[in-house]
Amino acid sequence: MRHVSESTDGRMMLVGKRDEHQVAYAVVELEDARSELRAVVPDAGRRPRRTAAAGSNPQSVAAALELLEGALERLERGAAAARGLPVSQAAQYLGVSEPTVRAWLKRGLLRKVPRSKPLLIERSSLRRVHSAVSELRARGQERDWLIALVDLLQDRAERRRPEIRRGLEDLRRGRLEPA
């Protein structure tokens, strides 16, 4: 199925689902780039617009950021239908398998685009999980840290088991008897 979409120069054009997904993927990556640049130049929005972004001084970064934001805005307008990524591309973007993406969807960590068929995953939830996974990857290069993390997650999963939660609730309420 093909949709009418607006090109970056304002022209209307026909795009297929595959194109939409590619656009959505590009938008997600551009949003990541924008976040990175914003972290470097947080007050970029107040700087005067420049067309040349040569060099690496803060003004150049701010100008590049402004150009990027304009392009993103036009892309998002043109790709209104491309609200999310299919599972395969989401897995590629996050660097995990498709079953893991589906598991994260099931557990509510990722959100699906309502009424999407085939299933699409919302860009904002993808970016949030991507950011967390990237942080974990950055921290987890030390073996001891990773071992401690596995222990911690296993203990955390134990603590969240329903039997233990119920038991702690009973303890809080003083529903106790001799063992």
């Binding site: 660097g95 995990v96 398998s97 893991t100 598991a103 557990r107 509510g108 960590l109 949030r128 999980v129 950011s131 967390a132 996974v133 942080e135 974990l136 990857r137 987890g140 073996r143 990773l146 071992i147 993390l149 596995v150 222990d151 911690l152 997650l153 296993q154 203990d155 955390r156 999963a157 134990e158 603590r159 969240r160 088991r161 039997e163 233990i164 119920r166 038991g167 702690l168 009973d170 303890l171 809080r172 529903r175 106790l176 008897e177 001799p178 063992a179």
Partner: protein
């Protein structure tokens, strides 16, 4: 010194449904807790911010695990008695996040003992807690 050992009501119900062999293991664990306190608690579970009690877990017969909480008055409460289930395996997810690295925890013998610093179990930093929430959920 004998420690006071209590249990929540649901643990009592679980005990009633145990086989004789499982029940013997439970009784032995309770006796050990009375006599030795936290030294018989097994391994200490790492805590999250906001957790009220230090928790420990001891393996009983087969897949049975006994989870105990330690109150400030010195009494011990058995809060859960359940079979260990591998329904959630964070190590599998971590293996995908860190391809090429074996995401395995410590052996049981290397895990922290229940009595190790029971008053101040290690907690996760709020930042790490937030990251883990995004990847592993609540």
């Amino acid at each position: 010194m004998a420690y006071e050992v209590l249990r929540v009501a649901s643990v009592g119900r679980t005990v009633q449904g145990m086989t004789r062999r499982e029940r013997r293991a439970y009784d032995a664990a309770v006796q050990a807790l009375r006599g030795e306190g936290c030294r018989a608690g097994g391994k200490r579970l790492m805590a999250s911010a906001g957790d009220e009690y230090p928790l420990c877990q001891r393996a009983l017969y087969g897949a049975w695990r006994m989870t105990t909480a330690y109150r400030t008055d010195g009494s011990i409460v058995i809060v859960a008695l359940a079979k260990h289930a591998e329904d959630e395996d964070p190590a599998a997810t971590l293996s995908e996040i860190f391809p090429g690295l074996s995401a395995r925890g410590r052996r049981r013998s290397e895990q922290p003992l229940c009595c190790e610093d029971p008053a101040a179990p290690p907690t996760m930093s709020p930042e790490l807690e937030r990251i883990l929430f995004e990847v592993f959920g609540a």
